[in-house]
């Protein structure tokens, strides 16, 4: 039980996939222009990460070492196809706005990285804990980035169509830089420096 908790918690802060390991940066920057997109993307990543970690852990004694990477990629690609067909059918608006970043989860280094470094060496309960921890860590990071970008870039923060809050002057004159690609780099760079300054993340 203690191991289970340890593997779960490590993904949240200590080895957060985005801020600490700098993995899976492409989706973290590309879909964080709104909170909705970030949550949708994180949901897809958590699903794929969980399923692939479970399957890789179950198959770990059966897969020959030499073909393990291609096997992992096929497993991951299958789950990505499942989630993108599901999104296309039930949440078409989200599917449209995530665009090519949904199929690109296949090459997200977090998922292949966890399959290779963790799930292929550990039993299934730990692999589940690891996937949930890393997935929620990813969600936490993308939600922080997207909340900042959406608030500054459009003056208000909306969640599934409901406006959570709106900043009086800023919503008439939003700083649209933050919705541009450059804003994504700016926000994540400053957040990283901030987390290091306050000691949440160690300097490398």
């Amino acid at each position: 039980m203690a191991n289970w908790i340890k593997e779960f918690v490590k993904g949240l802060v200590l080895s957060n996939p985005i801020f600490v390991m700098a993995l899976g940066l492409c989706p973290a920057l590309a879909v964080t222009n709104s909170l909705d997109n970030a949550i949708g993307m994180s949901g897809a990543v958590i699903f794929v990460l969980l399923c692939s970690n479970v399957l890789v852990s179950l198959l770990r004694t059966w897969v020959a070492n030499i073909v393990r990477i291609p096997t992992f990629i096929v497993i991951i690609a299958t789950f990505v196809t499942i989630i993108s067909l599901t999104f296309e059918a039930y949440v078409p608006a989200l599917y449209q706005s995530l665009g090519i970043y949904l199929p690109l989860i296949v090459v997200n280094c977090i998922i292949l990285g966890r399959a290779e470094a963790f799930a292929s060496r550990n039993r299934i309960s730990l692999a589940v804990a690891d996937a949930l921890g890393m997935g929620i860590g990813f969600m936490l990071a993308t939600c922080i980035i997207s909340s900042i970008r959406e608030t500054l870039g459009s003056g208000e923060l909306a969640l599934f169509g409901n406006t959570l809050f709106s900043i009086p002057v800023l919503n008439e004159h939003p700083i649209s830089l933050f919705l541009l690609p450059a804003g994504a780099f700016l926000v994540i760079g400053l957040l990283l420096a901030f987390f290091r300054r306050v000691g949440l993340i160690k300097n490398d």
């Binding site: 590309a30 291609p70 199929p103 296949v106 090459v107 997200n108 690609p181």
Partner: protein, 191 residues
């Protein structure tokens, strides 16, 4: 048919893969510490993108479309890219060892580079024909190489700069990327 030059400039500058579409960020931050490595990586990626587009276009249009199996495209694309990279690595190693030692080690990393899968997905979603796909792959690769070289030039200088401890390394690289991205946004609307 769209003007090939427009596609090339569009992929290389306006929709630059790294700075606008955020594809291939891992090598962008990982391999951009030295100018010579950056150039090799950029060339290797361009090469793989071109080859992958050339192979995937017929597979998509003659096999997947005919079988009504476009939903399998993600699985098929990644398998094709992985196989292609392996074959290319073997061929280059056997035929041209100088070339292999120049960018052989980067080839293995390229399989999981989202820029390569990205360019094939963009080609499909834009409905490009064969020639247009090749031009767009060349454009995307050139744009990637260009930004990687610019970035590594800046980072070589940054090593000598006096920075606050918490800004060193990755954070300042992100800020440089932000400024580069701002510069590249000046290209939008050019075509």
């Amino acid at each position: 048919m769209t003007n090939p030059l427009a596609i090339f400039i569009g992929m290389a500058l306006i929709n630059n893969f790294v700075l606008v579409k955020f594809l291939g960020l891992c090598p962008f931050f990982g391999v951009s510490k030295k100018l010579s490595n950056a150039l090799s990586m950029g060339l290797a990626v361009t090469f793989v993108m071109f080859a992958a587009s050339a192979v995937i276009w017929p597979i998509h249009n003659y096999i997947l479309v005919n079988l009504n199996a476009e939903y399998l495209s993600t699985v098929v694309y990644i398998l094709v890219i992985a196989t292609l990279v392996q074959i290319m690595e073997l061929v280059i190693m056997r035929t041209n060892y100088a070339l292999y030692s120049a960018f052989g080690i980067y080839l293995a990393l390229i399989t999981t580079n989202c820029a390569v899968l990205g360019v094939t997905l963009v080609n499909t979603s834009e409905g490009f024909n064969f020639i247009e796909s090749l031009v767009s792959a060349l454009g995307a690769g050139t744009g990637f190489a260009l930004v990687l070289v610019i970035m590594s030039g800046i980072r070589e200088r940054l090593d000598n700069a006096r920075l606050p401890k918490s800004m060193k390394g990755l954070p300042v690289a992100f800020l440089v990327a932000a400024l580069l991205g701002l510069a590249f946004s000046g290209f939008s609307g050019m075509v």
